[in-house]
Amino acid sequence: MVSPDELLRELGELATSLGPAVRPAGTDELLRSLTETARRLFGAAACSLALLSEDESELLYTIAACEGADDVTGLRIPTSQGIAGWVVQSGQPIAISDLANDPRFSRELAEQTGYVPQTILAVPVETPQRMLGVISLLDRDARRPGAEQDMALLSLFADQAALALASVAGFNVLGRVLLAALADAASGNDLVLALRRAVDGLPTADTDLAALAATFAALARRGAAERRLALAVLRDIGEYLERRPPRPR
């Protein structure tokens, strides 16, 4: 017999892991559009948005608008180094126009993408509640006016990105949000106490499950046929794993 506490906890975990699946569509598209707009406006080779990991130890390059060169999406950099790391740690924008003299930056990026930028302009992406990440422009048009005005302009894009991100942040912790909202709405001490206990006891989301849910949701949005295909592939993988001899751990 499952206790109400255990039931609530399971509900909370499930909601958090599946939150990304029910996240409003369009955030990624909005951020892609935002970075591409910034890239074109500033005449830059690339504009990228890097977001802080859950534990704030890394920056994950999430969205990148690039002209030609391989993009940096998926690149993870520790926040303890590099220009972008300094921007999120200090909360200050910065522009550098001769990156060749910063051997650490160029080497890292060149190793991953084969592209060596000459200039960078980076501003923080943040809300009054937390630092979210950094938006960077690589090799913006050299004929543009000084970096100072462009920093202020890019900060407007950063604000928009922050708003978009903040509005979907709740989905990553949906279980917590859901149960806390129920606790606020409920009456009757026992239920309220049980809900609050469940909120406090919730671990962080299972990121793999969350990623799976988000990927599946994206595929499903393409249409009914695509949804059936994704489901069929997943089922086939499941059946294959059942048949395969177990791997030694």
Partner: protein, 258 residues
């Protein structure tokens, strides 16, 4: 903008002075003492947050600059005040968690250990740090310690740069390290070089960069110079002196002969 009609000019403010006897703390990413532009770092402390014990751990002794930025600031300050005593307080570089608390602890360390000027090329927009930094800014002002802060580029609040008790600095496109502009609109107090300037960076190199975070150390250097000549000045009087020597200030009643 009108100039305060006191007999204060650059010569009175810092003529013949070099920063001797004034301790300046660079609260940043650490300072590379081996960089030729920096000179001696007399004291260094690195602070970080320990999430297990939930406290700030500080480690005395020489440390490296994890980003290059602290070195840039130290070099800029050294150029304006060659004989100042420089300290490095590293609060940036490890994980972000607890950053605000580490930042505050670093500031407090500098104030309580006897620094006279503190250069802060960093700030936080987090509203839950408002109270903490306001308190520390007051502590500094009451202890006679001048806090020089880089401001932000956007109208959003940023702490402690926007508090009236600190000197907040934005970048302008001048290049004269002994020149600054007074800003008529608060909360930014002054404009100093910080656009396309060459600054010391990692591994003895230099880099061409833009940022308010480079304008602040320009003013920090000038403050150290002023205080070495007039050590009795309070932080508010220092701000008055800076305003009096600002390049864009005009004598009242005279035409704008800028």
């Amino acid at each position: 903008m009108p100039r305060i009609d006191l007999p204060i000019d650059k010569n009175w403010a810092w003529g013949g002075a070099s920063g001797a006897g004034i301790t300046v703390a660079v609260v940043d990413s650490g300072v590379d003492a081996a960089h030729p532009a920096v000179g001696a770092i007399d004291r260094a402390v690195a602070l970080r947050w320990d999430s297990e014990t939930e406290e700030v751990i500080s480690t005395d002794g020489p440390h490296e600059d994890l980003f290059g930025h602290g070195t840039a600031c130290a070099g800029i300050i050294r150029r304006a005040a060659p004989d100042a005593t420089l300290w490095s307080v590293r609060v940036l570089g490890s994980r972000l968690t607890g950053k605000g608390v580490v930042f505050a602890a670093g500031l407090r360390w500098a104030i309580t250990q006897g620094a006279r000027v503190v250069n802060l090329s960093l700030s936080t927009g987090r509203e839950d740090y408002f109270g903490l930094f306001h308190e520390i800014a007051d502590e500094a002002a009451f202890a006679g310690v001048v806090l020089v802060c880089a401001t932000n580029n956007v109208p959003a609040p940023t702490y402690p740069a926007q508090f009236s008790s600190v000197i907040s600095v934005a970048a302008h496109d001048g290049h004269d390290p002994f020149s600054l502009d007074a800003n008529p609109g608060p909360p930014v107090d002054f404009g100093a070089p910080g656009v396309d300037i060459t600054v010391p960076w990692l591994s003895g190199s230099t880099i061409a960069s833009t940022g308010n975070s480079f304008a602040a150390p320009h003013v920090t250097g000038l403050v150290a110079r002023i205080l070495s000549k007039h050590p009795y000045l309070t932080p508010y009087e220092v701000k008055t002196v800076l305003r009096a020597v600002a390049s864009n200030a005009v004598a009242q009643g005279a035409s704008d002969d800028n």
